[in-house]
Symmetry: C2
Subunit: 355 residues, 2 copies
């Protein structure tokens, strides 16, 4: 088994280093190989996703990813910007199923913006389709408008689209996941406005018939954005498209108050996956040794479970993280009165020790 390790930019290198140490101490049979990605790869090779990095990722069973991006690349042409690396990996590896858990850890309830009673015990799984929708739909570009409000004016456009098999496969992923949880799926759409999401809703409903044991409901995306604030615990598995999933998964993550704790997995049809923390590259705190490595360490656990078939090892990591939290260690992002503030490295040490 082979893991491609792509630390990326900002705090990426620091947090991935800790996850790698945790993997090493488990002493499992796999190889790890690192490569540059994002801004770091652009600096070294002139491209955020160099051929060699892409090849390494494709040939691996799983990719452990840190984060990419920095303000300093904002002026680059779009194809050269760091975030193109993550889009390129998703597309080239066919990582269509993105798992974004939004969990509120018992000890971290106080870190949430929400009142404790609304957030304590939260455990949502957002499943975001990741290779379709308006992210990749063609045609897109700039042109002169021939109709609309201002024919003759310059305009820009993108294409939202979903095909039947794309919706079917992500729906199945959601129903299967729900079977292992509380057997409820909320499909989020905008069927009242968009052809794409009426189609989405129709197909999810059809696929739902294959899962009579799973309860399915549908919600408009604007309402979902509201209900997440009002009563997040009413959700269990949420499935939605790439664009809506981008927004809702981040909203849900921030609701927990501890985005520094949230892992993610992006899988393709053969369970090859890319694993990354839900948070970004945080260039403002990069290099200071204060970033929270736990989301990345928990991403490594997801990797062991989903792509490397090592569920016991995954359990060991997750238990170790719980143990470390219980012992009161906290990085700055989740620190509160009465707990002990530690840096990235010390947090990694503590997880290693707990394993």
């Amino acid at each position: 088994m082979k893991i491609a390790v792509l630390p990326g930019d900002g705090i990426g290198t620091e947090i991935v280093a800790e996850a790698v140490r945790v993997l090493e101490v488990l002493d499992l049979k796999f190889e790890m190989e690192s490569a540059l990605v994002g801004g770091a790869a652009y600096e070294a090779h002139g491209h955020p996703l160099p051929e060699a990095t892409l090849k390494l990722a494709k040939d691996a069973d799983a990719v452990l990813f840190g984060a990419v991006g920095d303000w300093k690349y904002d002026k680059l042409d779009r194809p050269l910007r760091p975030e193109q690396a993550i889009l390129g990996l998703r597309k080239n590896l066919g990582l269509f199923a993105n798992f974004r858990p939004a969990i509120c850890y018992e000890q971290l309830v106080g870190a949430s913006s929400l009142k404790p009673e609304l957030i304590a015990g939260l455990d949502i799984l957002i499943i975001r389709e990741l290779t379709g929708d308006i992210y990749f739909g063609q045609p897109r570009g700039r042109r002169i408008a021939t109709d609309g409000h201002f024919p003759g004016a310059e305009e820009a456009f993108d294409t939202m689209r979903y095909s039947r098999p794309e919706v079917e496969r992500i729906a199945r992923v959601a129903f299967e996941a729900a079977r292992k949880r509380s057997k409820r799926v909320t499909s989020v759409d905008k069927a009242n406005v968009l052809e794409t999401f009426q189609f989405w809703k129709d197909i999810v409903t059809e696929v739902g018939k294959e899962y009579p044991d799973v309860e399915l409901d549908h919600m408009y995306v604007d309402n979902a954005a509201m209900q997440l604030v009002k009563a997040p615990k009413k959700f269990d598995v949420v499935v939605t498209g790439n664009m809506f999933g981008d927004i809702l998964s981040d909203e849900a993550a921030m609701l927990t108050g501890s985005i520094g704790m949230l892992p993610s997995a992006s899988l393709n049809a053969s369970n090859q996956g890319l694993y990354e923390p839900s948070h970004g590259s945080a260039p403002d705190i990069a290099g200071k040794g204060v970033a929270n490595p736990l989301a990345t360490i928990l991403s490594a656990a997801m990797m062991l479970r989903f792509s490397l078939n090592q569920p016991e090892a995954a359990d060991r990591i997750e238990s170790a993280v719980k143990h470390v939290l219980a012992s009161g260690l906290r990085t700055g992002d989740i620190w509160s009165e009465g707990t002990k503030r530690v840096g990235t490295r010390e947090m990694g040490d503590a997880v290693v020790a707990a394993i």
Copy 2:
């Protein structure tokens, strides 16, 4: 001056009735004429936006709108569903500028999901473009895919688009609004993924140069969804497209905890406007006389200010609402221990009395 009164469905008739009483007691010189819209119009005339209703709205200086929709119309063909009425009004009247204030009233801080210190004093103005974007972009529909992941498969698609003049005019609305407030605008986009929103960002930046006294920043929509949860008070004027605005304005409204208090205005280039509460038709409580009429009453105040050039009358309504809140009256949605629960009619009575 003429006001078209379109109560619509669900609680729409009840809440609009109270707003009409408030307008009447002000004894201003304008005419009001009512018509059916939404499900009610479909029942009576077979269409959610009958010609006569559309003509009434077009000929009026302003439209006072209640709400439309009910589960029972979910099975109708899309063009016959209640929400097509609101889309049709926006399109036909050219109501491109949607003002969605998200305000947290001092007395209602406790109704929010958020911790009091995060929400007390919140006063955001979200300006949502309302006649463009993927809501109205052509082409859209279903077809057989000729490229993408599954060529040959059935697919559905929509077109996101913005032309230069559309972005310019909504940007100006935002900058002008900011000049009357704290002189800060946050433009929300997804320029890292979408051509349409790179174009949006470029144009907002250009227009911003005409307003050197207004500070402009840009935020990705996923980050905006997070920052609204984390630190909503950091926002002042937010400007964004139709689709993102739909999601973010509802998220922000729910953050206040008192969506039953939030009015909205949708204006065209000649300040003709449609005014409606930010909440929906709430079919579950329709006909029970318990709905909160204040969002609709405050929408009538916005109407007086923006379309009917009666700022003093608008002030009188807004002061009356504040007075009523201070006196401790609450409808069920905003009720809390120690305040007096009243119905729709009593709340209307109280505002009328306070005027």
